[in-house]
Amino acid sequence: MSGGGAGRHIGRILIRAIVTILMVAVLNFILFRVIPGDPAALLLGGARTSVTAEQMEAQRQNWGLDRPLFPDQMVDYLTATLQGDFGYSFKFRGRHVAELILERLPATVVLVGLAQFVAILCGVMLGLYAGWRRGGAIDHIVTGASLALYSTPSFWLGMLLVVTFSTALGWLPGYGAYSPGATIGSLDSLLDHLRHLALPVTAVALGLIGQYVVVARAAMSDVVTEDYMVTARAKGLTNGQMLVRHAFRNAMLPVVTLITLNLGYVVAGAITVEAVFAWPGIGGLTVEALNARDYPVLQGIFLLLGASIVVANLIADLAYGLLDPRVRQ
């Protein structure tokens, strides 16, 4: 292995990432231009008002919508996007898209991030153990349960959680990020926030746990059939030593990839879960923007999703390279 090998590896990954983000941007542009409906009309408040043709035209000029889609508008869009300018929201008149998104981002990141954390902790451990003891009673239970969780729509799980813990038992709040009127920043509000997080985090995490268990178990059961595990056994290592010193790191390779990939979805969030729990995150914004045909906001969200997942892919590839020396070549 040479520095050139690793450099080439990183270089290839970087180029891929950049090309993909650019493609997301371009397809973003195209996707939202082929959608029927005149943006100018939307800018003017949709079908609800009687707007004159001149006003419409003025509006078009104002937003540069009178120029040809390609290349002018596209170049404009791409250059603006590259400069970090995602435009203004149609619906939330005149607010910067970036501002809107940043406002909603923390809620989603907290929700999905926490859920990921919990899921990784539980899911990976359970999965690795099940794979190590493949065929045993615990394996059967864990695998069965996680396949079931894996196939459960998480929003439905969320609804059941609400019905049970919020409606019927009244233990935990079922909606929102804070109690109405909480003053954000105080200790009380933090506790309040945690109580509100409990159910949605559980809903998201349960689904993820299933996924992690399935992958970790498969990875581990591949590893235990590897020749180097026979070598380890031949060396007279105890089961614990084999697990810790040889199986664990190899089995973690695909799991780490999945973890980093999933981290990308921290931003994408869980639209449906957010809808169930009235969570004030990106998911809610997406649905609102979609209903209002707020294309700039949708474009912004899509770009953010694309970029975050591409970045996650990037980290996944790099992490894989770090963990697995073979990939570096």
Binding site: M1, E226, D227, Y228, V230, T231, A232, R233, A234, K235, G236, L237, T238, Q241, R245, H246, R249, N250, L253, L323, D324, P325, R326, Q329
Partner: protein
């Protein structure tokens, strides 16, 4: 009891060992009443075609049988005491300290994510209780021993050529100073020159460290290079056992003879292709009598009905009806 002509107590004594593999209802007898003894420092070749039970024999000795294997008869004695070969935990202290294995595919047998030095040092730390520093020093020493520049110790397995990986495997096998090293086809995947290097290395190390070596291969000429004694296996049984010189000069079992004849030998000057007719036996449905009789050019009536026993013959042993009549000093094999 099998007795070699030496009167020393053998290092390893395999006695009437049979191993069955369980396969969805059917049970497959991979080795059948295998008996032999190994002296300290002795090099024995185990030769036979694919599936004849060489690996199974070796793994049984090392106590590394796969979970679906069952030792259905016999025992293995090491320095006179019985080895718990079917008890994984009980075998653990024995492994690597007494018996180590050099596996065939070194690429797969080495853990791809650890540096080779670490893998060599690992048994020193875990089995011999060395500190990390001592273990690493020992690993360096071993690398030197197998002819790999010590600075390559920080390489990962995939960065090495096939021959080097195989040497790493050997270095690793020597880590705990075992008295028996089993080489399971350590050179099959390598080309001639590398193969020669590895065999030479094994031979040198054996005499330097006075190791007992069990070399598994399907190529007789490999054994000819570096073993004292050869055992020929066919369909799970040892069909012939003798010194290298004897077997090559005077093979007794027809299978051994055909095997030797099929090796092209320019020294003989005759360009002759001599195939062994027929197909390898089916172990689930093994032929009656001598398993080789359907392919044997000198098969007789009795061969199809009666399993020949492995009897002392001259200075070696052979299991063939042809040599039944002329045998002088028959010693019962079966316990």
């Amino acid at each position: 009891m099998t007795n070699s002509s030496q009167d020393k107590a053998p290092l390893l004594d395999v006695n009437c060992l049979s191993v069955d593999y369980g396969l969805k209802g059917v049970s497959l007898r991979a080795i059948d009443r295998v008996s032999f003894a190994l002296q300290a420092g002795e090099a024995v070749g185990l030769v036979g075609e694919s599936g004849s039970g060489k690996t199974t024999t070796a793994m049984a000795i090392a106590g590394l049988l796969s979970p679906n294997a069952r030792v259905s008869s016999g025992e293995v004695r090491y320095r006179g005491s019985r080895l718990p070969i079917d008890d994984d935990a009980a075998m653990r202290p024995h492994r690597w300290c007494e018996t180590s294995v050099v596996f065939q595919g070194a690429m797969n047998a080495l853990n791809p994510v650890h540096r080779i030095i670490k893998q060599i040092a690992e048994p020193c730390m875990l089995k011999l209780g060395m500190s990390r520093g001592e273990a690493t020093a020992r690993a360096r020493e071993l690398l030197g021993l197998v002819g790999i520049p010590t600075d390559r110790g920080s390489a990962y397995p995939h960065e090495l050529s096939g021959g080097m990986r195989q040497r790493v495997m050997i270095a690793m096998a020597l880590a705990c100073r075992p008295s028996i090293v089993i080489g399971d086809e350590p050179t099959t995947a390598l080309d001639v020159i590398t193969q020669a290097q590895i065999l030479k290395l094994l031979g040198e190390l054996r005499s330097r460290l006075s190791l007992a070596l069990i070399l598994i291969t399907h190529d007789l000429s490999v054994v000819a290079e570096c073993c004292d004694r050869v055992m020929i296996m066919y369909a799970g049984r040892i069909v012939e056992d003798g010194t290298v010189a004897e077997i090559f000069a005077q093979p007794k079992h027809p299978y051994t003879r055909l095997l030797i004849e099929s090796i092209p030998n320019p020294a003989s000057g005759k360009k002759m292709i001599r195939p062994i007719p027929g197909d390898p036996p089916n172990l689930v449905n093994r032929p009656s009598g001598c398993a080789f009789h359907p392919r044997c050019p000198s098969a007789m009536g009795v061969c199809g009905t009666e399993v020949p026993s492995l009897d002392q013959f001259g200075r070696g042993r052979v299991a063939c009806h042809l040599h039944r009549s002329s045998r002088g000093d028959k010693v019962a094999v079966h316990a």
